[in-house]
């Protein structure tokens, strides 16, 4: 595809909106202290907590999200649009609203509070729950799109040859979906890593338990903006590397 020339200035303007803030962030990083700042005990604790919780949230989002995408695909089309909108709600919800919703569901006074509200409150699991809530739609959306692009011919052939549904799923459909699953997982991980609003509202903020890197950045910003910028840069780098390596927009496959 050859794009018309007049797109160029618009692209430049759009890119500037994204790039200038990143440059601004980099301009505030105290470079001589960068390494000591990002390897300080508080920073390492928060980064390690963020990596662990985001990994757990990604795993949960895959375990829940892949089956949701399959079920969506099987629904009659008039219900599918509505069901898809409900599942994708966390994508468009302000995170603080997500946090409140989680609080009213899984908080100590929430709907499911008697079951495990007290067990989850202010623990690392509360962070994982908040991150899974915001990350799950990315998995569903990626696999939903890939499933819609498949003709289902191979599956039909396998079924006529006597393969069970589980066998068709594990030997044909899932292997074909690997790129979409990888894309969904990377986006889910990146979203979980950046989660702030729902975590703050629902999980609290305690070093080593619930204070993830974004929460530490927000807290540090008050007293030491340079340290906050240094730590922010780490998250920017992790995001760029992760998305570059693993994100491939889904292609049409048969």
């Amino acid at each position: 595809m050859t794009a018309p020339r007049w797109l160029l200035p618009l692209a430049g303007g759009g890119a500037l909106i994204v790039l200038l803030p990143l440059v601004g962030l980099a301009s505030r990083v105290p470079w001589s202290d960068w390494w000591p700042l990002v390897t300080s005990e508080a920073a390492l604790t928060a980064l390690s907590l963020s990596l662990r919780t985001a990994s757990a949230a990604t795993a949960l989002a895959l375990v829940g999200g892949i089956p949701i995408a399959f079920v969506l695909h099987e629904l009659p089309s008039r219900w599918r649009a509505l069901a898809r909108a409900v599942v994708l709600i966390p994508l468009v919800l302000p995170p603080v609203v997500g946090g409140l919703a989680l609080l009213f569901a899984f908080g100590r006074q929430g709907l499911a509070g008697d079951m495990f509200g007290s067990a989850v409150a202010f623990t690392t699991w509360a962070v994982v729950l908040a991150q899974t809530f915001v990350a799950l739609p990315f998995v569903v959306a990626a696999i939903d799109a890939a499933l819609a692009a498949r003709s289902g011919r191979l599956e039909a052939v396998a079924a006529t040859l006597g393969a069970s549904r589980t066998r068709v799923l594990t030997t044909i459909t899932l292997p074909a979906l690997v790129p979409a699953i990888a894309t969904g997982a990377v986006l889910a991980f990146a979203r979980a890593l950046g989660e702030f609003g729902a975590t703050l509202t629902f999980a609290g903020s305690l070093e080593g338990v619930t204070r993830t890197a974004p929460l530490l950045i927000y807290l540090t910003r008050e007293t030491d903006p340079g340290a906050a910028a240094a730590l922010s840069l780490v998250l920017v780098l992790v995001a760029i590397i992760g998305v570059t390596v693993a994100y491939r927009p889904a292609k049409a496959v048969s």
Binding site: T201, G204, K251
Partner: protein, 256 residues
């Protein structure tokens, strides 16, 4: 993601461009600054919200040509914004450290302490965990929310605990006193340390009265940010006047 290429036609594109231009023009128009001579912009700590609103009304009624514009936030957040060049005339800080930080960075400012505030224990209505005294907040079985020691209310909580010879056991160290109040009023936490003045203005929480907490107090400081700013100076005079003292006292603040 079917791989078909979009075919755009010029009329549609130019209609889009016109719409974008119209939206941008609308946004720009909404942001036109007011006449600077008649406006005093005050950055005030969140805990002052009700008080500051009342005093601003009082100030406007006695100064016909003046409009007071208020902006609220955590003292450290506001201090950072002012140092970055936010267009404020007056900074009402809930913390002398942040007031000093602004004065040091800007120079030529005038600082006046105008009130003080102390901490108290907030619990959800009905006090379900039966909190009675400060020492209860050392109990691991209780879910306790405090401010992080990096923010003013957390520094004050630390002082209060060490004065009482206690080692508090927080389950969460929140980023602002508003976050502590939210955790207590929602019942997520059994108790939290908040400012005395927060109790009356926050639904869903009640106070556990404990002796001796007023001995550890934070000083509220008014910082006039521009030398020779008569309007800001007049507002600071109002804070120290009998009317100002009355409004502050009614909200639970103590004299400086």
């Amino acid at each position: 993601m079917t791989g078909t290429h979009p075919t755009w036609r010029v009329p549609a594109a130019s209609a889009g461009a016109v719409a974008c231009a119209a939206i941008l023009a609308g946004l720009a128009g909404a942001d036109r600054p007011r006449d600077p001579g008649t406006t005093v912009t005050i950055y005030a700590a969140s805990s002052l919200q009700g008080v500051a609103e009342e005093l601003a009304e009082e100030f406007e009624s006695s100064h016909d040509d003046v409009t007071v514009v208020m902006s609220y936030g955590g003292s450290s957040t506001l201090a950072a914004q002012i140092i970055e060049g936010a267009p404020a005339n007056l900074f009402l800080s809930a913390d002398d450290v942040q007031a000093e930080r602004v004065a040091d960075q800007l120079g030529g400012t005038t600082s006046t302490p105008f009130a003080s505030n102390s901490l108290t224990i907030a619990v959800p209505i009905g006090n379900p965990a039966g909190v009675r005294k400060l020492a209860d907040l050392t109990d691991d079985a209780l879910v306790v929310a405090l401010c992080s020691p990096d923010v003013p209310c957390g520094r004050l909580s630390d002082q209060l605990a060490s004065t009482a010879g206690l080692r508090l056991a927080p389950d969460t160290e929140e980023l602002s006193v508003a976050d502590v109040l939210a955790k207590v009023s929602s019942g997520q936490a059994d108790a939290g340390l908040v400012y005395l003045t927060d109790i009356a203005r926050t639904p869903g929480v009640e106070q556990v009265v404990v002796e001796g907490t007023e001995a550890v107090a934070t000083s509220y400081v008014a910082v006039e940010l521009r030398p020779g700013d008569g309007t800001a100076n007049a507002f600071v005079d109002l804070l120290a006047s009998p009317v100002g003292r009355q409004v502050l006292g009614d909200a639970g603040f103590s004299p400086p």
